[in-house]
């Protein structure tokens, strides 16, 4: 796996056993009084990674970040940075910088002085500080605003100053706490790509905390989905989306149809899930071994469900239902199809035709179909 190859390798240090992680959480637990914020968590993050911690508010993702920055200490377990235990190191001595959710720009200092703040605390000579600040201003395209105070620039510009300030000291690790939360949607999208660009240019390891799954999917090399202080799944965005390991992850990331039923082996990694009386069993795959009769959840993404007027001939799975609701989103439409069992399945179609030429309308009888590799069978 670690063999050098001439073709460009996909960036995946977590699959390379010779790689040493830059950050290691070893059985870390953090309690605030009776509340357990982080529950026996172990995690490796590698150099140059753009790592996203994703979860609902209160899941402990911010606590992880604050422990890395040094504002909280672990109740149990150790956190290693570059192989060294960082618990005795105070925040001002760590090679870690943080970009705060509120940006935390110093309101009494100009943009230039804000970026220079950290450098002035170091032993860097004065002329080098000037050069470094100018470099940071160029990187974030804020040269024109160097003399302004934070209250004289827009929210997006403040975000960039905060990023420049936290990158100025060239930290080994940059922590970003909901960095784009305060921006409007369009600006957020642009900034996501800018962040990835800057991360690539500087080669810094980024750890980002977000509750926005789309943002995590866009920017991150790996995503950790968290809930109640535990990691539920740590994988690449594609793996998280295509092969979630649990109902929680499937449901948290994107839209999904969940159908409960009993599993039965059908050869290879294929299984049949009988889910309702008088309905054909659903065929799907699961990499793990499942005993016959286990209660499972069949998860299928709406965009993988095709919708047609007649029963498709060679589809592995086909269910009939009536169109209950149509959500028109411009580029796509989501059809909510009510099955005879009363369950509603969502199917997504691209709107390649104009709205007036739409195939289906309310109360139409339709067939939903999907292949036997489209859905995943989840046991948890």
């Amino acid at each position: 796996m670690a063999q050098p190859s001439k073709t460009p390798v996909v960036f995946a240090p977590w699959e390379d056993e010779t790689q040493k992680p830059i950050i290691q959480f070893k059985n870390v637990t953090k309690r605030f009084g009776n509340f357990t914020a982080i529950d026996n968590l172990s995690l490796d993050i590698f150099e140059r990674e753009f790592f996203a911690l994703l979860g609902p508010s209160g899941c402990g993702k911010t606590t992880i970040m604050r422990m890395l920055a040094g504002f909280e200490t672990a109740t149990e377990g150790t956190i290693l940075l570059g192989g060294k235990d960082i618990s005795p190191v105070p925040p001002n001595k760590r090679p870690v910088n943080m970009m705060f959710q509120s940006y935390a720009l110093f309101p009494h200092l100009s943009v230039w002085d804000n970026i220079a703040f950290g450098l002035r605390r170091s032993s860097m000579p004065k002329d080098e500080i000037g050069a470094r600040v100018d470099e940071m201003l160029r990187l974030t395209r804020m040269e024109k605003f160097a003399k302004r105070k934070p209250h004289q620039i827009s929210g997006g510009q403040r975000q960039r100053v905060a990023l420049a300030r936290s990158l100025a000291k060239a930290p080994k690790l940059l922590l970003l706490d909901e960095p784009l939360g305060a921006l409007d949607k369009k600006l957020r999208h642009d900034t996501q790509f800018e962040l990835m660009d800057i991360q690539e240019k500087t080669g810094t390891t980024f750890v980002i905390v977000t509750h926005d799954q789309e943002e995590a999917m866009t920017v991150a090399s790996r995503v950790a989905v968290m809930d109640h202080g535990k990691l539920i799944q740590v994988a690449t965005p594609a793996a998280i989306y295509e092969t979630p390991n649990s109902v929680y992850v499937a449901d948290f990331i994107g839209e999904v149809n969940l159908i409960e039923g009993n599993a039965k082996k059908a050869g290879g990694d294929k299984y049949e899930v009988s889910w309702a009386e008088g309905q054909a069993a659903l065929r799907g795959s699961c990499p793990r071994e499942i005993a016959d009769g286990t209660r499972v959840t069949y998860a299928i993404r709406p965009e993988k469900v095709a919708i047609s007027a007649d029963k498709p001939k060679d589809a592995a799975n086909a269910i009939q239902g009536t169109v209950h609701d149509i959500a028109y989103l411009g580029n796509i439409s989501t059809y909510h199809v009510m099955l005879p069992t009363g369950q509603v399945i969502k199917a997504q179609e691209s709107n390649t035709r104009r709205l007036a030429n739409r195939h289906f309308t309310w109360e139409d009888k339709v067939w939903l179909s999907f292949t036997d590799t489209a859905g995943v069978i989840l046991t948890e």
Partner: protein, 298 residues
């Protein structure tokens, strides 16, 4: 519409005119008059019965003699200088005592803050005069403070504190402390904790974060508190006359003596007019800094 607006603006203007400008003109007029053994104890008085000649006669008798007198007698400018000195020193001391208290209040747990605020304001519920009198009881030769020190064995002979400038400073710091604490507390309470975390994250120690972030950001509160203490202390009369000694020289005390003991209303008025001029400078500066701050927050 416009009448209503005029009416709204008119009310405070009439108020200021009647309660500030008119009394000031009366005091200014008295300061330009001469002392006289009559009721009222100055001359001239305006007699409108004599018509135009009377008014002309009235204005011709006004002069700046009292101000020249203030210049000639060193007592007065010494009193002004000493008042300024006491005001500057006691404002500094109030700041040094008040800032840590305000800081402690702002950093206290949320549920404590209302109680702490109450404790700061509580002394206002008792008469100011009674509180100054009780300091006489505390600081006197037989007072609590001396008795406590003797009982603890620190001293054998009681210290002379009452009727010295030390007592005046204690009295001023005690009385004006809330005026210093409240604006500083307001500034510190608004301070976003994440700014301090950011400073630490960027390499500051706790101490340097205080000097580089907390202190500059609480400056508006410090400025407001200092002016709120400094301006009234310059003209303070009760504290120096009750706690101060014969060599405590403050302009408020001089003014009172001119007015009641010497019954020299014109000189007393001249002292008051000069005092006002001295106080106007810091008031204008204060106003300016407030405006600048309001602009910065836009």
């Amino acid at each position: 519409m416009n009448y209503r607006r005029l009416f709204l603006i008119g009310i405070p203007y009439v108020w200021l005119l009647a309660l500030f400008l008119v009394p000031f003109i009366i005091v200014l007029k008295i300061s330009l008059s001469d002392i006289a053994l009559s009721i009222p104890p100055y001359t001239p008085t305006l007699d409108l019965a004599e018509g135009w000649a009377g008014i002309k006669d009235f204005f011709s008798k006004l002069d700046f003699d009292n101000f020249l007198f203030l210049k000639s007698d060193p007592l007065y400018w010494k009193a002004y200088v000493s008042s300024l000195q006491i005001a500057i020193l006691s404002t500094t001391m109030t700041l040094l005592v008040g800032y840590p208290i305000a800081y402690g209040m702002a950093r206290a747990p949320e549920e404590w803050r209302a109680t702490l605020m109450m404790l700061v304001i509580l002394p206002f519920w008792t008469s100011f005069l009674i509180r100054v009198y009780s300091w006489m009881g505390i600081l006197g030769k037989e007072g609590f403070f001396n008795s406590a020190l003797i009982w603890l064995g620190f001293i054998d002979e009681p210290l002379t504190i009452l009727n010295t400038n030390t007592a005046v400073y204690i009295g001023i710091v005690y009385t004006y402390l809330p005026f210093m604490i409240l604006p500083i507390y307001a500034a510190l309470e608004k301070l976003d904790i994440s700014l301090l975390e950011a400073a630490e994250d960027l390499g500051c120690t706790r101490t340097s974060a205080f000097w580089l972030v907390t202190l500059p950001l609480s400056r508006p509160g410090i400025v407001a508190g200092c002016f709120l203490v400094f301006i009234p202390v310059i003209g303070e009369f009760v504290i120096p006359s009750l706690l101060g000694g014969s060599n405590t020289l403050m302009i408020g005390k001089v003014l009172f003596e001119e007015f009641s003991s010497n019954r020299d209303w014109p000189v007393a008025s001249a002292v008051a007019v000069l005092l006002l001029l001295i106080v106007v400078v810091p008031i204008v500066l204060f106003q300016r800094s407030q405006e600048r701050q309001a602009e910065a927050q836009k």
